[in-house]
C-alpha cells in the first residue's frame, strides 16, 4: 500500500503546529545547526584535514540530493562548481519564486514551517562560507513574505542569524526580497538580475554561470526552497540514512503537487520513485482516482512546462535486472515510478513535481491554448525565438479555439515550437515549446480534426 512519507512536511499539518520559532524549537528546530557548529575537522588518511564545512558539502553530495526546482541537477555538484578561489564573496539565494503552473509545494513550507527553510539556508550558507544570502520570494505571496520576515526576525533575536552565530564566529545575514510578479524571475540568472534591481532578463551562459559570475558578478548558489530544506535533513540524518529514502540516484522525498481532474487534488510528500503515477492519481491515499464516469486523457507530469503524457502510452525504460545487467523494460504510463530518471526516460520530466491530470472531458486544444497564453504573457522578450514564437503560438491557438482553425495548424504549431527549443538564452524557450510540441504530436488528430471542422464550416458559410 503506497503511503506518503513526510520528511519536509512532517510537522506542517499536525494540529497545533504553528510557524513561530517556539513551536519549531519544541520540534527539534535548529538542532541541525547546533550539530554542524560543533563539528570538528576530520582527519583524512593522507594526513590532511577536512574542514567541517567541507564535510557537510561532501555529505550533501553523498546524499544524492537533486534539485527540487525543476532541472533535478545534483545539489552537491552544484555546490562543488562554486568558484572558491576568486577572492570574491560567495552568495546564496533561495529561489522562492514558485510560479510554475500546477506547483504549490514551496508555499506549504513557507506558510507552515518557515524556520525549516531558514535553518536549511543557514546550514547551506555555513557549508559554503556564505556571509550574505537572499531569499527571493514570488511577489504574489505577500503572506509568505510576512511570515518569512517574522521568522527571520525571530532567528536573529535568538542569534541563529547575525554576527557570531551561537558563539561560533560565523556571521550570516539573510535578506528577503519580494519579486514583482514575473515567472521569468524563477530562472536563476533572471532572478539574479531582478535582485540586482534590473529587468529580469536571463543572462547568457557562457559566460555568466552563477557559480562563477552570479549576483554582482560574484560566485552564487541558487537553490530551491524544498532543496534547501532537505539539507537540514541530510545533516540531521546523515547522508547514508537519507540516501536510503527513495530509490538509487533518486534519493530522498519530494512533495508532489497534484491538481486537475482527480477527486483529491493536493500535495503529497513521497519517497522519490517509490510511488507510481497511477498510484498518485488513483490511490485513496493520494488523488483518489478520477471523478466517476471519467476516463484519463493525459497527464502533465512535472509542471506545465513538461511534456504531456497520453493515457495508454507505454515507455521503454532502462531497468537494472537481478543480475546487475541493464535491460529495456516496457512500462505503461500509470506504472511509471514518480522520479527524475523514469520521467526523463519517458521523454518528459518531473520538473517541479506538479502533476496536472486531464480527463476525457477536456478539450486538448483549449488546454494547450491556455498554457500557450501563459507562456506568451510571461516571455521576457529578450531573445528573438521565444519573444516572437511564444506569442505567435498563442495567437494561433487562440484562433483555433475561436472557430478559425485550419487543418494545417498542427504542423504550423510544430514548426514554430521547433524553432524555439534549444535556441534561446534560457530554458523558458523549452518551457514554452514543449507543451506545444508534445500536445500537438500526441494529439495531432484532435488538432487536425478541429482545424478541418472549422475549415468545413467556413467553406459552407461561403456558399
Amino acid at each position: 500500500m503506497p503511503q506518503e512519507h513526510r520528511l519536509i512536511l512532517k510537522h506542517a499539518d499536525q494540529p497545533g503546529y504553528t510557524p513561530d520559532l517556539e513551536c519549531y524549537l519544541r520540534h527539534g528546530g535548529y538542532d541541525a545547526l547546533k550539530k554542524v557548529l560543533a563539528l570538528a575537522p576530520k582527519d583524512l588518511p593522507d594526513g590532511k584535514k577536512m574542514s567541517p564545512q567541507e564535510q557537510v558539502r561532501e555529505d550533501v553530495k553523498a546524499s544524492g540530493l537533486r534539485g527540487r526546482g525543476g532541472a533535478g541537477f545534483s545539489a552537491g555538484i552544484k555546490w562543488s562548481l562554486v568558484d572558491r578561489r576568486s577572492g570574491k564573496p560567495i552568495y546564496l539565494i533561495c529561489n522562492a519564486d514558485e510560479s510554475e503552473p500546477g506547483t504549490f509545494k514551496d508555499r506549504q513550507i513557507i506558510h507552515k514551517d518557515p524556520h525549516q527553510l531558514i535553518e536549511g539556508m543557514i546550514l547551506s550558507c555555513w557549508a559554503n562560507d556564505v556571509k550574505l544570502a537572499y531569499l527571493y520570494i514570488r511577489g504574489e505571496m505577500p503572506q509568505g513574505a510576512k511570515l518569512l520576515n517574522k521568522a527571520l526576525d525571530e532567528a536573529r533575536a535568538k542569534n541563529f542569524l547575525g554576527k557570531n552565530i551561537l558563539g561560533s564566529g560565523f556571521d550570516l545575514e539573510i535578506h528577503l526580497h519580494r519579486g514583482a510578479g514575473a515567472y521569468i524571475c524563477g530562472e536563476e540568472t533572471g532572478l539574479i538580475e531582478s535582485l540586482e534591481g534590473k529587468r529580469a532578463y536571463p543572462r547568457i551562459k557562457p559566460p555568466y554561470f552563477p557559480a562563477v559570475l552570479g549576483l554582482y558578478m560574484c560566485p552564487t548558489i541558487v537553490n530551491n526552497v524544498e532543496t534547501l530544506c532537505h539539507v537540514k535533513h541530510i545533516v540531521s540524518m546523515g547522508p547514508g540514512e537519507y540516501a536510503k529514502l527513495g530509490t538509487p540516484n533518486n534519493t530522498g522525498t519530494r512533495i508532489v503537487s497534484l491538481s486537475g481532474d482527480v477527486k483529491r487534488p493536493g500535495y503529497f510528500e513521497i519517497e522519490v520513485g517509490k510511488v507510481t503515477i497511477g498510484e498518485l492519481i488513483n490511490d485513496p491515499a493520494f488523488g483518489g482516482g478520477l471523478r466517476d464516469g471519467r476516463k484519463l486523457k493525459a497527464i502533465i507530469p512535472g509542471g506545465s512546462s513538461s511534456k504531456i503524457l497520453k493515457a495508454g502510452e507505454t515507455f521503454k525504460l532502462n531497468r537494472k535486472g537481478a543480475d546487475g545487467q541493464m535491460t529495456k523494460v516496457e512500462v505503461p504510463l500509470l506504472d511509471l515510478p514518480y522520479d527524475f530518471d523514469s520521467l526523463m526516460g519517458a521523454g518528459t520530466m518531473s520538473g517541479s513535481g506538479a502533476i496536472i491530470v486531464l480527463d476525457d472531458t477536456r478539450d486538448i486544444v483549449e488546454a494547450l491554448a491556455n498554457l500557450a497564453e501563459f507562456y506568451a504573457h510571461e516571455s521576457c522578450g529578450q531573445c528573438t525565438p521565444c519573444r516572437e514564437g511564444a506569442l505567435w503560438m498563442s495567437k494561433a491557438l487562440h484562433r483555433m479555439t475561436h472557430g478559425e482553425g485550419r487543418k494545417a495548424d498542427a504542423d504550423y504549431l510544430l514548426h514554430i515550437a521547433q524553432n524555439i527549443q534549444g535556441r534561446t538564452i534560457c530554458a523558458f524557450g523549452e518551457a514554452a515549446a514543449w507543451p506545444v510540441l508534445s500536445f500537438v504530436k500526441k494529439f495531432k488528430e484532435d488538432f487536425e480534426a478541429k482545424g478541418a471542422a472549422d475549415e468545413a464550416k467556413a467553406a459552407a458559410a461561403k456558399h
Binding site: A182, S379, G381, C383, T384, P385, N419, Q421, G422
Partner: protein, 582 residues
C-alpha cells in the same frame, strides 16, 4: 554608390586583428571544413584580451557570421540569436583522451539537444569561446535553418514598410533576408502594433514597430555614453524601447544609436527623408569641430552634403562621434559663401577679378615688401599643408606669425576642449608657438606702430581677436582668404575665396599628434579654390621655390622639411593616420 577614385570611397576595412601573439597562444580549429589557426585570446569590446569567440574566429577565417545585437565595441548581449551556428567538439573517451576515427583523425561530437539527440544545438557565435579542435559549421543546413527561423521570427511583427523607411539600402533586416531568409512567411495572425514616430529626444525619432530589440542603443547609451536614458518596457512580443521620459534622450552622443541601429527603428531628425542612401557618394573625411579629429564618412550627392557618420579608427574615436560635431556641416553650403576673388582699387572700391589678376597683383606687392614688414595670421582650422606654405612665406619676410586659439568645455568621451582641428599642425609647422594666439598682441602692436605694413590673414576674422578695423585701416596691404564674409574680408585689399575641408584634400594633426588625411567630397562654389593651390603659386612667385604639383607631393615635401613630420609619406598615412611626437 559610385565614387570617383579621388575620394577613395571604399567600404571600411575590417578592424585589424590584434598583433599576432606567440605561436603557443594559438588554437587550431576548423571553420567550414578548413583548418585555421586563430589566437587564443582576442580583444573584447573594451580592448581587453578575452578568449576568442566563434564569431571572431569565423571572421579571421573569412566567414562573416550574420548578427544584429553583436557590435565589436559594445558589451555582448546574445539576444538576437542570428549568429547561432552548428558546431562540434572532439569527442573524449573515458580516459579524457580524444576518440579517434579509423583514419586517425579525432572524432567530432556535434552539439545536439540533450533531450533530443537527433537535433543539432547551435551556439551563439558572439559569446561562445572556441576550444582546441572545435569545428564550426557556418554554412551547414542546420545553421542555415536556424538563421531562417530567426529571420522569420524577426519579420512576423515587422511592418515591412521598406519603401517609406529611411534605413532601406543599409538595413540588416533587408540584407540578411536576401542572404539568409526565406521569401515567404507562414505567419497568418494579426501583427503586434507598437508606437510609431516616437519623439525620443531633440535629434532622434523611434519607430518601435521596426525595432528588432537588439538593445544596441541601450547598451551604447548606458555603457559608452554613460547615460541611463533608454530601456525596455512591457513584456514578450510587446517589448518596446523607450526613453525614461519622452523627449529626454538628449546627451551629446544620441545620433550614434542611429548608426548602430541595424534596422530603421532609430532615425536622425536631421537626415530622415532627405536622401536615399544608395544615391549618396561616400567620402572618407574628418570632423573639424574639435581637436579630437573623429574619422567620418561624408554622405553627399550632387555637391550637397547630407550627413556625417563616424568611421572606425580605434586610435581616435573608436566607432563613435558626438552629435554637435556630426551636425556641424550646414555652414558649408551657406548662400553667402565667398565665390569670387576681390581686389580693392582706389576710388573704385572692391572689384571682382579673376585668379591670375589677383595673384599677379599680390605677388607684385609682396615682391617689394621689406623683411619684417609682413605679418601672417593663419588659422588652426587650415590644413597642415596650407600652414606649411604660409610658414614658407613667413620665412621669406621674417614675418611674425600666429593663429587663433579656440577653447570650450570638453567631455570624457570624445569632445576636446581645443575647438581647432589642427592646433598641432600650426605648432609643428611653426606658424604658432606652444600657446596659440600668443603673438597676436605683438602683431597688433606692429600694426599700431606702423612697423607692419602688410598683413596676410587666412580663415580668421581678426577683428574678433584684438586686431580691430581701425588697425587694419592703417595697413598698406591686407590680404585675406576665407570662405565666408567677415569684418576682416570687408577691410581687405585682396579677398581670396577658399575651400571648406570637404571641398579639398589635406591633413590635420589632432590633439594627440595623429596626422590624418581627408578626401574631397564636394566641389567648391564659384571660383573658390583650395588654399594650397593658390598658396603654392604665391610661394613660387615670391620665393622661386616649386617642388611639387599635387597634394601628395606637397605633403611629402613638408615631411622632408619639417622635422616633426620626418619619415612620413602621404601614401603611408592610410585611412586612419599616423601618430607623431608632439
Amino acid at each position: 554608390m559610385s565614387a570617383p577614385a579621388t575620394t577613395e570611397a571604399k567600404p571600411a576595412a575590417p578592424p585589424a586583428p590584434a598583433a599576432p601573439p606567440p605561436p603557443s597562444d594559438k588554437i587550431k580549429i576548423k571553420v567550414d571544413g578548413r583548418e585555421v589557426e586563430v589566437p587564443k585570446m582576442m580583444p573584447d569590446w573594451q580592448g581587453k584580451p578575452q578568449p576568442t569567440t566563434m564569431l571572431q574566429a569565423c571572421q579571421l577565417a573569412a566567414h562573416e557570421v550574420p548578427h544584429y545585437c553583436y557590435h565589436p565595441k559594445l558589451p555582448i548581449a546574445g539576444n538576437c540569436r542570428m549568429c547561432l551556428v552548428e558546431f562540434g567538439t572532439p569527442q573524449m573517451g573515458p580516459d579524457r583522451k580524444p576518440v579517434l576515427n579509423e583514419d586517425g583523425t579525432p572524432k567530432i561530437a556535434k552539439s545536439v539537444l540533450p533531450y533530443e539527440p537527433g537535433t543539432p544545438r547551435g551556439a551563439i557565435a558572439c559569446a561562445t569561446p572556441i576550444s582546441p579542435g572545435m569545428e564550426i559549421y557556418p554554412n551547414s543546413p542546420a545553421t542555415k535553418q536556424m538563421r531562417e527561423a530567426v529571420l522569420e521570427s524577426l519579420l512576423i511583427n515587422h511592418p515591412l514598410d521598406c519603401p517609406i523607411c529611411d534605413q532601406a539600402g543599409e538595413c540588416k533586416l533587408q540584407e540578411y533576408s536576401v542572404e539568409h531568409g526565406q521569401a515567404q512567411s507562414r505567419f497568418v495572425e494579426a501583427k503586434v502594433h507598437k508606437p510609431k514616430a516616437v519623439d525620443l529626444g531633440p535629434r532622434i525619432v523611434l519607430d518601435d514597430e521596426r525595432c528588432v530589440l537588439c538593445t544596441r542603443c541601450i547598451r551604447f547609451t548606458k555603457d559608452i555614453a554613460g547615460d541611463d536614458a533608454l530601456g525596455i518596457v512591457n513584456r514578450g512580443s510587446y517589448n518596446t524601447i523607450a526613453a525614461w521620459a519622452e523627449g529626454k534622450f538628449d546627451n551629446n552622443y544620441t545620433l550614434n544609436t542611429v548608426d548602430i541601429c541595424p534596422v530603421g527603428a532609430l532615425t536622425s531628425k536631421d537626415f530622415r527623408f532627405q536622401m536615399r542612401v544608395w544615391f549618396m557618394k561616400e567620402t572618407k573625411s574628418l570632423c573639424t569641430s574639435c581637436g579630437t579629429g573623429c574619422n567620418i564618412v561624408v554622405g553627399s550627392r550632387e555637391e550637397k552634403v547630407y550627413r556625417y557618420e563616424p568611421r572606425q579608427n580605434d586610435a581616435v574615436n573608436s566607432t563613435w562621434m558626438c552629435d554637435s560635431g556630426r551636425l556641424n556641416y550646414k555652414w558649408i553650403g551657406r548662400a553667402d559663401r565667398l565665390q569670387k576673388c576681390g581686389m580693392r582699387i582706389a576710388e573704385r572700391g572692391m572689384l571682382e577679378v579673376a585668379w591670375p589678376t589677383a595673384l599677379k597683383a599680390i605677388s607684385a606687392k609682396l615682391a617689394s615688401a621689406p623683411s619684417g614688414s609682413v605679418a601672417i595670421v593663419a588659422s588652426a582650422r587650415q590644413t597642415t599643408e596650407e600652414l606649411f606654405l604660409l610658414a614658407k612665406l613667413a620665412k621669406k619676410f621674417n614675418a611674425l606669425t600666429d593663429s587663433v586659439a579656440r577653447n570650450a568645455e570638453g567631455d570624457k568621451l570624445l569632445v576636446n576642449a581645443d575647438k581647432n582641428p589642427n592646433s598641432n599642425g600650426a605648432r609643428l609647422t611653426g606658424i604658432a608657438g606652444p600657446q596659440l594666439g600668443a603673438n597676436l598682441a605683438k602683431i597688433s602692436d606692429g600694426l599700431r606702430s606702423g612697423g607692419i605694413r602688410t598683413l596676410i590673414v587666412f580663415g580668421e576674422d581678426v577683428t574678433k581677436h584684438g586686431i580691430g578695423a581701425d588697425l587694419l585701416a592703417k595697413l598698406d596691404t591686407l590680404i585675406v582668404s576665407d570662405i565666408l564674409p567677415s569684418a576682416t574680408t570687408a577691410a581687405a585689399h585682396f579677398v581670396l575665396p577658399g575651400c571648406a575641408h570637404l571641398e579639398k584634400r589635406g591633413t590635420f594633426v589632432n590633439v594627440k599628434g595623429r596626422v590624418q588625411k581627408f578626401m574631397k567630397a564636394v566641389e567648391a562654389p564659384g571660383d573658390a579654390r583650395p588654399e594650397w593651390e593658390f598658396l603654392h603659386e604665391l610661394v613660387h612667385n615670391v620665393t622661386g621655390q616649386n617642388g611639387f604639383s599635387t597634394i601628395e607631393g606637397l605633403f611629402n615635401e613638408m615631411a622632408r622639411e619639417v622635422p616633426g613630420f620626418a619619415g612620413l609619406e602621404w601614401a603611408k598615412l592610410g585611412d586612419t593616420g599616423v601618430t607623431v611626437q608632439i
